[in-house]
């Protein structure tokens, strides 16, 4: 298996990478950090970090610990911790998270519900790692 040298989440550091030429159909459940640059239909689930790139197209129910969304998602998002939506994102579906930031230009059509923080937030996770 591939191992990672540091924890800061970037494309090159994820445990699972779905590249731009890949189409995934079904229940895509990963255990570590996931980067999606391709297409996914079905469901996506990870307890860790999910990065959806600008060119990604997702038609799926999405569950993650923390997430950064830059692509198209049609489906509901359930993020336990921190959700960062960047300007290129287009989300059609309901969002549930405990912390959120939305960059100017992002498109969201759906209900947004803030829930009680269930896990450490993205920021506190990084802070913890820095302390280590």
């Amino acid at each position: 298996m591939f191992s990672k040298d540091n924890k800061k989440v970037e494309l090159k550091d994820a445990e699972t990478i779905i590249g731009p030429s890949i189409r995934v159909k079904g229940n895509f459940h990963g255990e570590g950090d996931i980067v999606i640059e391709g297409k996914v239909e079905g469901s996506i689930k990870t307890n860790n970090f999910l990065l959806v790139g600008e060119k990604a197209k997702i038609v799926a129910e999405v569950e993650a610990g923390n997430a950064q969304i830059g692509g198209d998602i049609t489906g509901n998002l359930q993020i336990k911790g921190y959700l960062e939506i960047t300007s290129s994102a287009k989300i059609i579906g309901d969002i549930e998270c405990s912390e959120i930031s939305i960059e100017k230009g992002a498109i969201i059509n759906g209900k947004c519900t803030m829930i009680k923080n269930q896990t450490n937030s993205h920021k506190s996770k990084l802070e913890e790692e820095e302390e280590k």
């Binding site: 298996m1 040298d5 445990e15 699972t16 590249g19 731009p20 159909k25 640059e37």
Partner: protein, 258 residues
């Protein structure tokens, strides 16, 4: 006892001098043992099974990638069949440069240098992948064209551009993204998909076109192309791939870390 198994091509006259040099070096190092030359009447599987049952201490194959993979399979299979508890390491003496790159990835050296590696006896216990009934140590590969993959019976993968699919236990020539490394000691296989380089002179994939997916069980389907394991054995699809319960004790060269 050391058992030396010579692939049939090593019996050709043009390899006489090489074989003589190897045997002299083996004698100098005090590694003498029984020599078995493969031919029409015997196979590497039979020889290894018989010698393991008789109590061989070390199996050493002399030849190229193909006999190396066959020996890996024979040792893993026999260990399972006779529920062997003692470990029998596999050594490898590559002869000739053709179809013989696996030894380099494990730092074994060639011909006489490989004898020195066997003498040093650095033994590493390594995972094996299992593709249908065949074990592999390094990679299983197939082109992306016409290939469908089902992962962990949960989801399917379709690849929309030309490239290569590799199931990696131990990466050989694969240029992995920065900060990634492959390990053959963690009981996990990775599915690696790379798009062919798009530029006129670019044949290597860049990081943005690579996909990496750890898995427990995959099925590979392709109507026309086979899966190739350890750069030598072809297996027609459908091919089910998973990590094997069996492991191999391999004599490796210095400077190779897992």
């Amino acid at each position: 006892m050391h058992i030396y198994i010579y692939d049939s091509f090593v019996n050709q006259k043009k390899y006489d001098a090489t074989a003589a040099r190897i045997e002299t070096r083996i004698t100098d190092l005090g590694l003498n043992g029984k020599i078995v030359r493969l031919g029409m009447m015997n196979s590497v599987d039979e020889v290894i099974e018989n010698e393991m049952k008789k109590g061989a201490k070390t199996i050493i194959v002399v030849g190229n990638n193909t006999i190396f993979n066959k020996a890996v399979n024979a040792i893993a299979r026999t260990t399972q069949e006779i529920t062997l508890t003692r470990r029998i390491p596999l050594g490898f003496i590559p002869v000739g440069k053709s179809d013989n790159d696996i030894a380099g990835f494990f730092g074994m050296g060639f011909e006489e240098d490989a004898c020195n590696t066997i003498s040093a006896r650095r033994i590493q216990r390594l995972d094996l992948g299992l593709a249908n009934d065949y074990y592999f140590l390094t990679e299983a590969t197939i082109p992306t064209n016409g290939t469908d993959i089902e992962v962990d019976q949960n989801y399917s993968i379709q690849i929309q551009e030309a490239g290569n699919i590799k199931v990696i236990n131990f990466a050989t020539t694969t240029k992995l993204p920065k900060n990634f490394s492959s390990s053959a000691v963690d009981q996990v296989l990775d599915l690696y998909i790379e798009k062919k380089g798009s530029g006129l002179f670019s044949r290597k994939p860049n990081e943005a076109s690579q996909s990496i997916i750890p898995f427990k069980f995959i099925t590979i389907l392709n109507k026309t192309k086979p899966v190739i394991i350890d750069k030598s054995i072809q297996i027609n699809t459908p091919v089910n791939i998973q990590i094997a319960k069996q492991k191999i004790d391999l004599i490796i060269g210095k400077g190779i870390n897992f």
